[in-house]
Symmetry: C2
Amino acid sequence: MTSRPGEPSSSPMASSPPPPPSSSLSPPQIPMKLHEINRLKLLNSLREHLSLSSRPHQGFVFLQGGEEQTRHCTDHTELFRQESYFAYLFGVREPGFYGAIDVATGDSILFAPRLSEDYAVWLGEIKPLSFFKERYMVTFVFYTDEIPKVLHDRFQGSGRPLLFLLHGLNTDSNKFSKPADFEVLTSILFSCPELSVEGIEKFKTDMSILHPIITECRVLKSDMELALIQFANDISSEAHVEVMRKTRVGMKEYQLESMFLHHTYMYGGCRHCSYTCICATGDHGSVLHYGHAAAPNDRTLEDGDMALLDMGAEYHFYGSDITCSFPVNGKFTSDQCLVYNAVVGAHDAVISSIRPGVSWVDMHKLAEKFILESLKKGGILFGEVDDMMVERLGAVFMPHGLGHFLGIDTHDPGGYLKGAKRPLESGLSALRTSRELQEGMVITVEPGCYFIDALLNPAMQSSNTSKFLNCEEIVRFKGFGGVRIESDVHITANGCVNMTKVPRETWEIEAVMAGQSWPLKNEQPCSENGVEG
Amino acid sequence: MTSRPGEPSSSPMASSPPPPPSSSLSPPQIPMKLHEINRLKLLNSLREHLSLSSRPHQGFVFLQGGEEQTRHCTDHTELFRQESYFAYLFGVREPGFYGAIDVATGDSILFAPRLSEDYAVWLGEIKPLSFFKERYMVTFVFYTDEIPKVLHDRFQGSGRPLLFLLHGLNTDSNKFSKPADFEVLTSILFSCPELSVEGIEKFKTDMSILHPIITECRVLKSDMELALIQFANDISSEAHVEVMRKTRVGMKEYQLESMFLHHTYMYGGCRHCSYTCICATGDHGSVLHYGHAAAPNDRTLEDGDMALLDMGAEYHFYGSDITCSFPVNGKFTSDQCLVYNAVVGAHDAVISSIRPGVSWVDMHKLAEKFILESLKKGGILFGEVDDMMVERLGAVFMPHGLGHFLGIDTHDPGGYLKGAKRPLESGLSALRTSRELQEGMVITVEPGCYFIDALLNPAMQSSNTSKFLNCEEIVRFKGFGGVRIESDVHITANGCVNMTKVPRETWEIEAVMAGQSWPLKNEQPCSENGVEG
């Protein structure tokens, strides 16, 4: 043993036990069965689609997983996160995989990269194929350089094997998903003289059928998917409360981000977030996607600021997306109350109205209307709310959509079915979906009310809208920023479940910020959430 | 004000003040002057080079900054970090910029992207060009769509303006840096009818001169660069100590990562790390680049494990790279001591020998020799160390190079000058530089000793090396993992300065893990760091 010179430390720290964990949660087991269920769901939908057009149940769903990326010309490796469709079907955390599902037999096949001997020294044990077969619960595992041969050998139809490739529009990014890369496969074939190069040309490919079907599978969540989204919500809710409790005037915005990231990773095992944290205070609250590299959460919190914190952790690919707004000094002013209660009221009204069959566009309008009514009651707006709705005044205060699907992507795909048109009206055009709600969907409810010069100034100058605006009052809100309240809800047969568990009423927030535990022990009904406070 | 029902909380938490900050550090001001100095240094080197070949001091250094990336087809934006050469010259944190330096006048010119009106609502205030001029201390700022016109107008030579573009090999990644993208510029020209499309074809380009010159500028650090690297070292050293102190048997490896990330961001404002944290315990310590997505720091710490934590924060692009190794239960066993002291002795021997003119290959061999001698003293090896050196036995226990340049990249470029050959011998071939040390270099000193089955098994079977190995002793180290000790040193006129300030002696580590403050108050010399412990 090593010598330890000097007397034993008499510091009070020395013998004190480690502090108790600051969380009641711990990361759940990763349920790989979930992906088997996802594959089965896709297989059933695809077979049904093929039957409808009297086509044989033959061919392979064929996807390429993500590749690890380095930063520009350097060897700096970015932390890899799997491509979302591949994650949905296979749950594979490693880069460089391909995957197939045999439409005829239902067999699932993973193709793993063949790693060099060096890998064992630098990156870790080279796992046998059986390891991946067991971990990912697939029927077979081969190496990626065996893809053409395996698919040819296993194809049960006549002629060239048919590959269903992923190609379709993401309606949030306006980008197309990239079908599995055949150039790579061709180069593999060239390096395998025992396989004929013509092999690859002997595949038939279909680029239209798979994308809408798998996307629709992703829209409706299974119980196992819901459980992961619930865990991501639980740990993120807890982290939001932790941040709220520790926020102090004089801190930097990024310190709130750091506390959130630490809590969700330390106690939830969440290495990734669903998106870059938005930690906006003061005027920054009016920047909807604040927090990126050009606006990096670096302001100092000032007394009297509102904070708008939009942060959500991801666990085994499934995410959460939660926004809390609160005064950084722990006490709402009457103006803050006015705006906050307008938004929380809209949030609650929407959640009370959500059920299968309801149109998301109607929910958006419901939120807008509640906010406009509240601002009118608060003396900020004049006139008839119905007239304001006609002039789309709501979009001045809430220029974003009410919410979006949530799952493996924060903006989960499927918001617009093929051929569906985006609404054209101001505000509604920003909606990430215009669909009717269905049981099994998970969607964010995130009304907001912001004071954005770039929108308020034109509205004050337009004859259509200026008549509604009480400019003398509005001027007081210059620099206010904004309030957003965002929860993740799961649509059930009769309504919805709010998966997000954070203080929402102003008095709950004030109690938690004053040090009370959450959930509050003596929970009391809100006596009155009116703007008079 | 809102109502707050119920009596005031009587929880002991309620009125307790926030805990005191856990750091003596705070983020320093960002010194933009640093980049002005970098530009001047490049300009001087480039002009000198041109003079030597009797070429005129004309044309523009022309670089493209990094672009923000989204994940596959989604709208998930990855947190942007500037391309390193662009960061070196301009220090710009926003994506989408180009930059030029006029070789004739020394003027520096930034080109900012012209942002859409939507940007103000979603991403933040659209800054005027004067904002960037002031922030980045450049001579002029224009929009990117003005690049061709500006460069043509300002060119002082005759004929077509010459652009010095960045094109050269990164000897760590074996990738070439990407010269500024002319396709983008061409498409800009097409969209600007007032500029002739031929404009772009009227540039001359040079792809060979710039890269080696700017790379060599980066190799030798200025005082302002050293100060940033020192801060990254200070906050990371403090975070390592924090992690060491809080490590407990039963934790997960990623919890150590989480604590490190939190400390460096919360108290150091470091949003980025220099590289993905390597938090290896037990056998994982023998995986040199553990911690990536396929080996994601997810093991549970067991009593008797060594931890090998390789983690470094980055501040305003400049990084740190620090490894600490310690027993997770806070007490070294005699075997752990043997291996640890072999490595710390090698580390100290190298640092004592470093000075300008010393060959890095010799430093590597010095470390190897110390480790082999220690393993021999500990009864793990037999025979003459000089014979072991001839057979390259050191590479079995330390298969990586002794260290690498450190700066804006963790593996900072310039390790091999053009035409320099990598050593071919086992172990030495992994060196990221074979250069002689010079004043102003910053390099990591990171000897290690690992028990890697993939290397030990062949060594035990080879007649050249098996004679040195005491297999009966070595078998005890199966599953031991490894020890690495890594500090960042700055080469001075007469020696070097160790910028890393963490406990290194076994007794220091044990004292800190037992709760003593760091630096130790009653610092004592190590009575004897011999392997007998």
